[in-house]
Amino acid sequence: MSEITIQLEGVNKFYGENHIVKDLHLDVFKGEFLTLLGPSGCGKTTTLRMIAGFEQPSSGKILLAGEDVAALPPNKRDVNTVFQNYALFPHMTVRENIGYGLRMKKTPRDEIARRVQDALRMVQMEAYADRKPRQMSGGQQQRVAVARAIVNNPTVLLLDEPLGALDLKLRKQMQFELKHLQQKLGITFLYVTHDQEEALTMSDRVAVIHNGRLEQIDTPAAIYNRPKTRFVADFIGETNLFKGKVVGTSAHEVSVAIEGAIFRFAHAEGQHSGAEVYVSVRPEAMSMTRERPEGEAGLVGRVTEHVFVGSVYKTIVTLPTGLEVVVVQPAASDGLIQQGEEVYLTWDSARSVVLAS
């Protein structure tokens, strides 16, 4: 069992009347890349800042390497932060920026020089060592910010949406670089973002936070394929949420009435007859046919949109009730479906999830 580096126990944070972080319990394992994912204002940055020491929890405990850090100011905690807008010292060169933390700890000069050089190499910024931040692009500044943090060999590296201001291509490149860097260094990374694609790409585990609460913490695959709450299902990737009612349960299955038809799913806990549920089916798990499917339950609808999006076809089928269902199919498959056509929708019940309301 992995060692736990950070432990949040029952952490709450209030700003005046606002309850920003609600009873958060979180364990971060040593050496993992954990991402706090959630929409703006959900409390993820606040949580990060509390771990760094810039905010104090209203209640609850934060333990770093087993120690309660409540009394420790930021400069005494063995964590370093990569800030959202880098916060590089404009009056210092890249080298001086990176070496700042080591200088503050009165590290010997030659050691500083060596370690700074290593850090520069790790983020491939040796050529820029004597430049000032204003002479560099956003991406370059970001690397310096990372170098400045990791050179101190912290127990945990906190990253607060560091890629937010970069353009798409650069962002994607940096995602991989950061991932590889983390694997190489072995430092625990606690990453904050609202971009779920980014979270899924980089993380060992993802913690989805909504309205100050931890909805689910799991590997990216699990988050994606087996969301535990409606919010997670909806927030991560694209999904179709079918509202339904449980009409029957058995040992292995549960029957749900959706749009008039009865569908059977693997039994999931907490569902009893009469309960209102949502069934989440990802667009790529949907199938579309012109003919009524044999034996399987299906829904019928009319194609209202059918667009080519580069690698896939995205089709919107509107059901008689008005519900719009999104279907995604690889571009290589049948592209002959026309707008206005009547189609039947089915899906693989193994790839769908029944969620509480």
Binding site: N80, T81, N85, G101, M104, A149
Partner: protein
């Protein structure tokens, strides 16, 4: 429309013209006039417009009793330096406190510091007379507290009172650029500094001070240049040894001594000195300025 580009350019010129004319009439021409006068000869009624370098020579040459006029300039520079040092010492902590420690009523308190600027200089100087005088508030307080048993003369009509008056009057000029410079320091820099292990004093020394430096230089320059030209404080608050600074000498030349060319020459000398200093401090400011050109988001 074809006209638009030309129209726009044509609009720029009339906008620039009034300030340019103003500057020409009230800055450039007067300086030119001053410059011309410095090369003419004084006469009983009016200036004799014949070229001479005598006025400049006079300023730098000893009189028959051995005293050299330009020593007053040196004394004034010393005084200005002292005033500058004290105003910076006073303004920096105040600006720092306002910026980083005051959360509510920040604007109000800032205004309280700035508003006295709008009160006439003479009124403020006079109020110092009342405070510092033999029977003034300060002496009365000292006697009441038992610090001394008789009033101290040194507080008024001395270098001390001139310095106090000038420091008081020029502090707002120094505070404003320092305050602005401190205000522009992104707060996340201080967080970053703490995050990287710096204590409060270290953050102050390594982050706040270097970034505030341009503001400090600007403010110090204000204080110095203004003090150099101040003739009111010496005249109102100075004693026998401190009532005559270089500006008073110039004032005299345009008054009782009726020697405008000499006054102009001294004026030009001061101007050259001040311009040289402005050049130096301007360069220093540029060298230390890091904030304004960084594309700091948020």
């Amino acid at each position: 429309m074809k006209k638009t580009a030309v129209h726009k350019k044509g609009m720029l010129l009339p906008l620039l013209l009034p300030p340019a004319i103003w500057l020409f009439l009230f800055l450039f021409l007067p300086y030119l006039n001053l410059f011309s006068y410095s090369f003419w000869k004084p006469g009983p009624f009016d200036v004799v417009k014949e070229f001479t370098l005598h006025n400049y020579a006079k300023f730098f040459t000893a009189t028959s009793s051995g005293s050299v006029p330009y020593h007053v300039l040196i004394d004034t520079v010393e005084l200005a330096l002292v005033v500058t040092v004290f105003t910076v010492i006073l303004s920096f902590p105040l600006a720092y406190y306002l910026n980083f420690k005051v959360t509510r009523f920040k604007q109000t308190i800032y205004m309280l510091v700035i508003i006295p600027l709008w009160v006439s200089y003479i009124v403020r100087a006079y109020s110092w007379k009342i405070i510092l005088g033999t029977n003034g508030i300060l002496n009365s307080a000292f006697i009441w507290l038992g610090v001394t048993d008789h009033p101290l003369d040194i507080f008024l009509y001395s270098k001390v009172s001139v310095i106090i008056g000038m420091v008081h009057i020029y502090t707002p000029f120094v505070l404003m650029p320092i305050y602005t410079a401190l205000e522009q320091i992104p707060r996340n820099l201080l967080e970053a500094s703490k995050d990287l292990g710096a204590g409060r004093f270290q953050s102050f020394l390594h982050v706040v001070v270097p970034l505030a430096l341009p503001g400090v230089i600007a403010g110090a320059t204000f204080a110095f240049v203004l003090s150099m030209g101040d003739f009111l404080a010496p005249s109102l608050l100075g004693g026998p040894d401190s009532s005559t600074m270089i500006a008073n000498i110039v004032q005299q030349q345009f008054g009782t001594s009726n020697n405008w060319p000499y006054g102009s020459a001294i004026g030009i000398v001061i101007l050259v000195l001040v311009l040289a200093i402005l050049e130096l401090t301007g360069r220093a400011e540029k060298r230390f300025s890091a904030l304004d050109t960084v594309a700091m988001r948020k």
